[in-house]
Amino acid sequence: TQLLEQSPQFLSIQEGENLTVYCNSSSVFSSLQWYRQEPGEGPVLLVTVVTGGEVKKLKRLTFQFGDARKDSSLHITAAQPGDTGLYLCAGLPLGSGNTGKLIFGQGTTLQVKP
């Protein structure tokens, strides 16, 4: 069974602090995505990483794909209350072709207090 372990599951921080969310697996993924979900809404794609060692930046968010393509991290600099939400990592297992059958982590609930 291919699993994505996401940590921490819950994070409550003050505005302005930095944080990192981790997504780990023993399986190799051809690509990995990060989503953000707000209450009552579906997940919204933030980024897709496909190359081992790849780093992508989206304003204050930095995403990294591990060299072996088994893990990823999301780092937020100077968190804002608007960053509050559920962050989900999702991987496309190697060999799954173009089926798009993503494996999701359990999610990290982030609360940023003003």
Partner: protein, 113 residues
């Protein structure tokens, strides 16, 4: 343009009743996915449709669950003889052929009493 829509947004049903959930994907998207999300958790894959190919039903938790799709448009997820453990948010997503990115609808919150 219009995104993925789902209906109803909320459904409360009694244990043992059947329910039908609907998904309207983004026009032109050939792939359609159903997921289940329990409170504060990640998404659990249920079923996948790609064009006219046979659907991948490997994620359906029991034979009480079934789904259909009309061509490359609307899909319905049916849960027969609902149980309390079926209570969850059911999310639908669509994507363009060969694309990695999935676009999600707002979900249907199902509560089985």
């Amino acid at each position: 343009g219009a995104g993925v829509s789902q209906s109803p947004s909320n459904k409360v049903t009694e244990k043992g009743k059947d329910v039908e959930l609907r998904c309207d994907p983004i026009s032109g998207h050939t792939a359609l996915y159903w997921y289940r999300q329990r409170l504060g958790q990640g998404l659990e894959f249920l079923i996948y449709f790609q064009g006219n190919s046979a659907p991948d039903k490997s994620g359906l938790p029991s034979d009480r669950f079934s789904a259909e799709r009309t061509g490359e448009s609307v899909s319905t997820l049916t849960i027969q003889r609902t149980q309390q453990e079926d209570s969850a948010v059911y999310l639908c997503a669509s994507s363009a052929r060969l694309a990695r990115e999935q676009y999600f609808g707002p979900g249907t919150r199902l509560t089985v009493t």
